[in-house]
Symmetry: C2
Amino acid sequence: MTLANSVLLTDLYQITMLQTYHAEHMQETAVFELFTRRLPPERGFLLAAGLEQALDYLENLRFTTEELDWLANCGRFNRQFVASLKDFRFSGTVHALPEGTAFFANEPLLRVTAPLPEAQLVESRLINLFHYQTLIASKAARCVLAAPNKLLVDFGMRRAHGAEAALLAARAAYLAGFAGSSTVLAGMRFGIPLFGTMAHSLIQAHDREEEAFEHFAAAQPDNVVLLLDTYDTEAAANKLVAMHPRLRERGIQIKGVRLDSGDLSEHARRVRRILDAGGLTQVTIMGSGDLDEYRLRELMATEVPIDGFGIGTRLDASTDAPTLDLVYKLQEYAQQPRRKRSEGKATWPGRKQIYRQFTADGGLAGDCLGLENTPRPGEPLLVKVMENGHRLAATESLATLRDRVRAQLAALPSALRADPNGTPYSVEIAPELRELAARLDRELS
Amino acid sequence: MTLANSVLLTDLYQITMLQTYHAEHMQETAVFELFTRRLPPERGFLLAAGLEQALDYLENLRFTTEELDWLANCGRFNRQFVASLKDFRFSGTVHALPEGTAFFANEPLLRVTAPLPEAQLVESRLINLFHYQTLIASKAARCVLAAPNKLLVDFGMRRAHGAEAALLAARAAYLAGFAGSSTVLAGMRFGIPLFGTMAHSLIQAHDREEEAFEHFAAAQPDNVVLLLDTYDTEAAANKLVAMHPRLRERGIQIKGVRLDSGDLSEHARRVRRILDAGGLTQVTIMGSGDLDEYRLRELMATEVPIDGFGIGTRLDASTDAPTLDLVYKLQEYAQQPRRKRSEGKATWPGRKQIYRQFTADGGLAGDCLGLENTPRPGEPLLVKVMENGHRLAATESLATLRDRVRAQLAALPSALRADPNGTPYSVEIAPELRELAARLDRELS
């Protein structure tokens, strides 16, 4: 993944600032935290995701000879500074929320503690990596909550924003509870279960729809899912019933059908009746086409007889909330807490920890955002995952992450589970954190 | 770019369908076209972009040994079929709109003519490549129309959806008329001009703001752009005026300042007054923070004294319209025109051409969507760019594409230029195309 891990996939100002830090010998320890200043109005909670790729990025970060040559010759940087980048490595400590943890506004999902230049340079790509997977895992979790017990599959590769988004959307959706993805590369790279049916083009390339069905079924007799809506959905379902005995004689079992247009609820009902009347009760129905959690809730309310849904474009681009206000801010330098005070963008200073309280049956009961060195009641959520630039533990499997998400979603307050845009979750700011911020403001003014 | 060009970055059903085509010896010529069924309500026109990366993808498409092994062992495909993929190449013909051409609903921006399996397999990634850059070029063009004569810079890398989106957003915005990007890799890969200032963290890492300014200026004396809003914007501007004589003695010229929070219009006015009163009339002002074409129009209406704008998140995620209804549909197979009739998703069949008419002074006067073999008045827009799997011409330079976009934007109807969501542009469907669709419907029913 050359592209993904290029150290030059960053903003110019990071390297410009590094040149200043180099000139001024500013190499003391910096502490940056990654958090969202506010949730999008369409989101009541977020799920942390992207840590695995971020740790991979940090562990492998270095300038190639080609990159150093380019920097030396681009007319912006002095030779001595560029030469110093030759041995650049990330040697810092990282604390993070385990992937799949629910979090809220102002709560850090990552803390980077490292010499200032190292912690600075990685800002842009760390945001980029956490931003997208967190966005998609959170969106996918909303779909899971909207359609529990349905098989949900990521179909969004084609309209994801580029190659990496396509690949990582499959991962983020899977860890959030989707059954799998249609993206083949995600199957190969991450072992994510793959699902797929057929496109309209296969039907259209045949003169007769029945012939297309038959050819497709014969070529993969174990996994036949037929698309019914190329010309007339119910007519196609009837054709299927008529041809079924012939297929069965050849040892072919139809596994499912897919509907991709029109009123899915109405078509599914009619198709289910046709299939059942024809003895094809075991054939499942899959629905797709401009679906998201809102549409899923509507369909579920009609008790639609659809067994699974392919969720594409609106998942992979998180259409209703395509970005998060995710930022990475300096909270401490050279042992001194730091605070940005820009209008509407002030930050809570210092090394922070999230202390989460639970109800007797394990439900989330409220968080406190406090200082790491001043414990508050509750479970501290940020854990150390990297030290001296090396991971402290093996990669968590996707199965582990799925289990965590399942538990997290079950533990959400029921109001938030029922209406993920609704009741805000309580995040209290610890008094000592407020005092620290006030003290810094006094010192600066 | 291993990730970007993996042939397995596709939907599972493509490979499943290829297995059917292989079993049935369906290798005849297929014609697919790429188009949007409708424009987003927020878009009055789109700019075609992504062709360069698409041609690169098609020219280099092949299965690696590792990919073939994975396919052979994933339990879905038979050995004979997988073996046939070893020599898979794209050998087809491609017609396309030159990058930077304005287009509208139903108008193909790409036509692929190739043996069915080749034309089929590439669907997912072709949509993915054209979708994102077209989305961003179109959004960027709206920013250019909103703030003509201002320097616009892509600042969105961190919240673009993944690595490839970050890189290609810089390209798409630049071809649409942006002055450059902050994404360093885009500078190295595409020669796109880079712009950057400093982050709040550099200020915060110093005990005094003046010291931060001075260190930063000394480290890159030729390109000093200082961020003013870390604590108090106007106070920072006054500090700058006070320290300026000292810097000048050291041969340092302040080039500009950046404002990133609060009421940009009001702060810019005050900062301009402070700078001018202090003799710093040549120092430019850059604005950033949640900007897009809507906000730019508001700022321009106040005659804000800002010289350039950094446009980030809302550009790179095209926040107001994060996806296009871009599809790739079979229009002909084995010399027979084909038509999908799904509810609300019916397509115009056959090999089509866009015939564009112009006013006397070169303005766009209306398009006709017709058949390639039945010319209509106007200039045919789709041109042949690939034959037998090889490009017909050298890559167009970004300078050429920028010139084309400049001409295209100038040629848009003035109503569309003034309000890009407004007046729809006329795209007539040629009578022979309507007749062909009607004939196919009769034959199928």
